[in-house]
């Protein structure tokens, strides 16, 4: 899950070196925290949150595959 979000985020931002993803594994639910450079925040959120929503949709499909739930949090 972590690698998936890292790849997508790095491909979308201007400063890929400042993409940091951490995964907090829970029993059923994992929380994935995405941190990007301040100026790239808009890139991972998108207009009306479309990019963030698309990442969450892909993430939940990936989680379904392993019968888990994942939550994506974008850290400001």
């Amino acid at each position: 899950m972590k690698e998936l979000i890292t790849y997508i985020a790095k491909a979308l931002v201007d400063v890929p070196e400042e993409v940091f993803v951490t995964e907090i594994q829970g029993e059923q639910t994992s929380v994935i925290e995405l941190k990007v450079a301040k100026e790239d925040l808009g890139k991972v959120i998108g207009k009306q949150g479309r990019t963030a929503r698309a990442m969450r949709t892909i993430l939940s499909a990936a989680s379904t595959k392993i019968n888990k739930r994942s939550v994506l949090e974008i850290i400001e």
Binding site: E3, L4, Y7, I8, A11, L12, G46, Q48, R50, T51, R53, A54, M55, T57, I58, A61, A62, T64, K65
Partner: protein, 229 residues
């Protein structure tokens, strides 16, 4: 757009002149076109009548960097394959082609429908992200369509049938009929399905990305056509 520049270099021999050109232009030999104007000669015993070698170097570079269509396809395919591999999906292949100015990526082998999602939401999300990645890499607009198991065609057929059914209902009841909330692409299919029908009009209703389509019977048309029947 190609920019061509020419330079001339002189040295004792043509070999040296080429080396000098490489050094000064900071290019390798393969990156430039070399024409030897004067081969240069050492003269007798290297003392008398020596002539310098003279070469002409033509450098052409593309500016601004505009990758070809092929690159768009390659970038899109690679991005999607990478995402699918990280999900991870096994036994999946991506077939890429250029159709009417759009890059169409067909995912083959997902029998579970996992990548389609409810109402194609996962497919749309993948499409949205791959579009973003391609447009960022190319720095120009490209349109990428992501499809799996013929979902796009099936959805188009389903929406067209639904639109026709709703159109019939609107005509029969003489009241507007409204669809569910649809994304712009789906709404377009509904509008197009009923465009030819003169007894019906269609209108989008709502705010934001998702809107309903209202199918409205045109009373005048109906009364006129029934009068002539």
């Amino acid at each position: 757009m190609e920019i061509t520049e020419t330079f001339e270099f002189e040295a004792k021999t043509d070999e040296e002149a080429i080396e000098k050109a490489c050094r000064q232009l900071n290019l390798t030999r393969d990156e430039m076109e070399i024409e030897i104007l004067e081969p240069g000669s050492a003269g007798i015993f290297g003392l008398v009548g020596g002539r310098k070698a003279k070469i002409k170097v033509t450098v052409s570079r593309k500016e601004p960097e505009v990758p070809e269509e092929e690159d768009g396809i390659a970038i899109a395919k690679e991005a999607l394959e990478k995402i699918l591999a990280l999900i991870p999906m096994e036994g999946i292949t991506v077939r890429a082609e250029q159709v009417d100015g759009a890059i169409v990526l067909n995912i083959e082998g997902d029998k579970s429908g996992l990548l389609i999602g409810r109402k194609g939401r996962t497919l749309d999300a993948l499409q949205f992200i791959v579009n973003k990645i391609v447009n960022k890499t190319l720095e120009r607009r490209a349109r990428v369509i992501v499809d799996s198991e013929d979902y796009r065609q099936r959805r188009r057929d389903f929406l067209t049938q639904m639109a026709l059914r709703m159109g019939d209902k609107a005509k029969k009841t003489q009241r507007p009929v409204s669809t569910n909330l649809l994304n712009p692409h789906d709404r377009r299919i509904v509008h197009l399905a009923l465009r030819e029908d003169e007894e019906l009009g269609t209108k989008g209703r709502g705010e934001g990305v998702l809107k309903k389509v209202v199918i409205i019977p045109r009373r005048n048309n109906v009364s006129r056509s029934s009068r002539f029947q």
